[in-house]
């Protein structure tokens, strides 16, 4: 069946328009961040930055406590992901490889936990943390972020563990390994890609989290990058150059991770979530 010229043309034209629509906000963020201020506040937009400048980045990172925010964000995110991985790996192994009563109940429980409405529970979390005198501390953030990503991590890892052929494990045990040795020496290395992509999604979630840190940590020393970014316009008035530089700095690590690992991560996501 031959398609008319129009029939061949319109999908491509639509695709180009859509591509521009989806990419433009991201492009405009970087373009604004790199343009001199005169080009940003011009009556007619300067579509392509010609004289590239880094002054906005200097201003954005020159804010008080900038490096504190960076290190806070990194500490909280990395610790939350690491704890979640260790805890989830144990649980995922049990769910994928062992038969026991209530297994189905656990899986359903984690599926429900994955949908927890965290945004709505911040008042209760605030009270709990306050009663423990832990406001303005990184510890509550770390453990709650860990919990936010834990159910997803367990369910996804369950899929990855189940995908490792049982025979490999049995072969190792025939060769004299105990079950935990077989796990450490045979399964764990094979799980590396799975651990990688699962932790990526956890990393993105924790890195982006905003409502909880907004309520819990009012002191600059304990705040994270999303707060720094959201408070930017108020603090800087209409300094869009610095604001966009800040957005770029915040987004770049995630964009890089995501674009490079999206394909594998998504296939892992569906493999883990759909079938166990």
């Amino acid at each position: 069946m031959k398609r008319s010229l129009f029939g061949r043309l319109w999908p491509n034209v639509t695709a180009v328009i859509l591509f521009v629509g989806f990419v433009f906000p991201v492009y405009w963020m970087f373009a604004t961040a790199l343009k001199p201020t005169g080009d940003i506040i011009s009556e007619d937009p300067v579509w392509f930055p010609t004289d590239i400048t880094f002054e906005h980045f200097q201003r954005a990172t020159g804010v008080d406590h900038f490096w504190t925010y960076v290190s806070n964000s990194l500490i909280v995110t990395v610790c939350a992901v690491a704890f979640a991985l260790v805890i989830a790996l144990a649980g995922a192994f049990a769910l994928a490889r062992m038969r026991f009563k209530g297994r189905r109940g656990f899986v359903i429980g984690f599926m429900l936990a994955q949908m927890a409405p965290w945004e709505v529970m911040i008042i209760a979390m605030y009270m709990i943390v306050r009663d423990a005198s832990m406001l303005n501390s990184l510890l509550p953030l770390t453990v709650f972020y860990m919990m936010m990503i834990l159910p997803f991590t367990i369910l996804t890892l369950r899929g990855f563990v189940a995908a490792v052929p049982r025979e490999l494990e049995e072969a190792a045990m025939v060769d004299g390994c105990t079950r935990s040795q077989a796990f450490l020496k045979v399964i764990l290395p094979l799980l590396a890609p799975g651990l990688m992509s699962t932790s990526l999604f956890g990393f993105i979630t924790a890195w982006n989290e905003f409502p909880l840190v907004l309520v819990l940590n009012k002191e600059a020393e304990s705040q994270t990058l999303p707060l720094w970014l959201s408070s930017f316009q108020t603090a800087f008035g209409n300094d869009w150059g610095a604001t966009m530089a800040a957005s770029s700095l915040f987004a770049v690590p995630i964009l890089i991770l995501f674009v490079f690992l999206q394909r594998r991560a998504v296939s892992g996501l569906t493999a883990g979530a759909v079938k166990g």
Binding site: S42, M121, F210, F258
Partner: protein, 328 residues
């Protein structure tokens, strides 16, 4: 393997809880094999974390919703129970119902836009040539990966009153009254920006996964359909749609949850303003509870919000749970 002498970690209570509908209840076979406890021990940390860090805040939320807890009580650390007073106030007030209706409409509009546009773009991806498809996919992935707070900052800049590129384009297109338009000055225009932001961020997930789903449709089905004389539309409705239906249900359900809780987008774009006119339920709970320091009221609103969300998704939740039970 070490033999565990302690009591089963997920004791009878947990087991009874997690095996609903099983007659005779299951006590783990403690005496039979030492290994029988291992799965429970492996799951213990995850379950403990869930109970402590998710179960406890949920319970705390319910407890708080029955307390008179304002600034004074907060500072003095006193607990004043006041029964269902918070609920009475919330449910008899006009605000709550207005915000609820607004939230549901907001969710409906967003989810419909996301699903329709996402599906169309997904089908377009399937039709494109390889190079064009990869290009569009890269664009979608970029939008998908953008962190929420960064994206909402960028949208504020795109829609800025002065020097914002959207106002410039509208002006050049001949709509001159938009040249200095303040998008955050009215309810509908604020919702427009928030909706555009949410739809822009959410379409890639639907489109890319839908495209992935279409690649699993066996081409024999299309051949059979065309042998039977089915045209493009007919083969779409008889082959493509039935194949994609479970996927579409699942995605719609996820999008309802995500959009309904879209706290960050609404809050960062305009803080629920102007005049609290764009508050959706999670934002309303936050502003009443934390902002106006009526913590008990806020908690009651939060509990009601969770119930409404459960109500909205109950139908699908039942199907999923049943399916999962059958599969396991």
């Amino acid at each position: 393997m070490t033999v565990q002498t302690e009591r089963p970690p997920s004791g009878p209570v947990d087991v009874a809880k997690t095996t609903p509908g099983r007659s005779g209840g299951g006590r783990p076979a403690t005496g039979k094999r030492p290994g029988a406890l291992v799965p429970y021990l492996l799951l213990l940390p995850a379950c403990a974390a869930t109970v402590l860090l998710l179960g406890w805040p949920l319970l705390k939320d319910v407890l708080l919703s029955f307390q008179n807890l304002n600034m004074a009580q907060l500072i003095q650390h006193v607990t004043e129970w006041n029964g269902v007073e918070n609920y009475r106030q919330v449910l008899t007030g006009e605000d709550f119902w207005r915000v609820t209706l607004r939230s549901i409409l907001f969710t409906a509009v967003n989810v419909v836009l996301i699903m329709v546009a996402g599906t169309l773009i997904g089908l377009l991806l399937a039709r494109l040539g390889k190079r064009m498809r990869i290009t569009l996919m890269m664009g979608l992935v970029l939008a998908w990966a953008m962190p929420v707070v960064a994206a909402s900052t960028v949208y504020q800049w795109l829609f800025a009153q002065r020097f914002g590129v959207v106002n410039w384009v509208l002006d050049k297109l001949g709509w001159h009254s938009m040249a200095d338009y303040s998008w955050t000055s009215s309810q509908m225009s604020t919702f427009f920006v928030v909706t555009l932001l949410i739809v822009w961020m959410s379409i890639p997930f639907v489109a890319i996964n839908l495209y992935a789903a279409t690649t699993t449709i066996p081409s024999e089905l299309y051949e059979a359909a065309s042998l039977d004389g089915a045209g493009v539309w007919k083969s779409f409705t008889t082959v493509t749609m039935p194949f994609l239906r479970p996927f579409l249900y699942a995605t719609t359900f996820l999008e309802v949850i995500w959009v309904f809780k879209a706290f960050v987008q609404v809050f960062t774009i305009n803080g629920g303003g102007p005049d609290r006119l764009t508050e959706i339920l999670p934002v309303y709970a936050y502003i009443e509870g934390v902002g106006n320091q009526h913590y008990g009221m806020g908690a009651a609103i939060a509990v009601l919000t969770i119930l409404i969300l459960l109500g909205l998704t109950a139908y699908y939740l039942r199907i999923v749970l049943k399916q999962e039970e059958d599969e396991l």
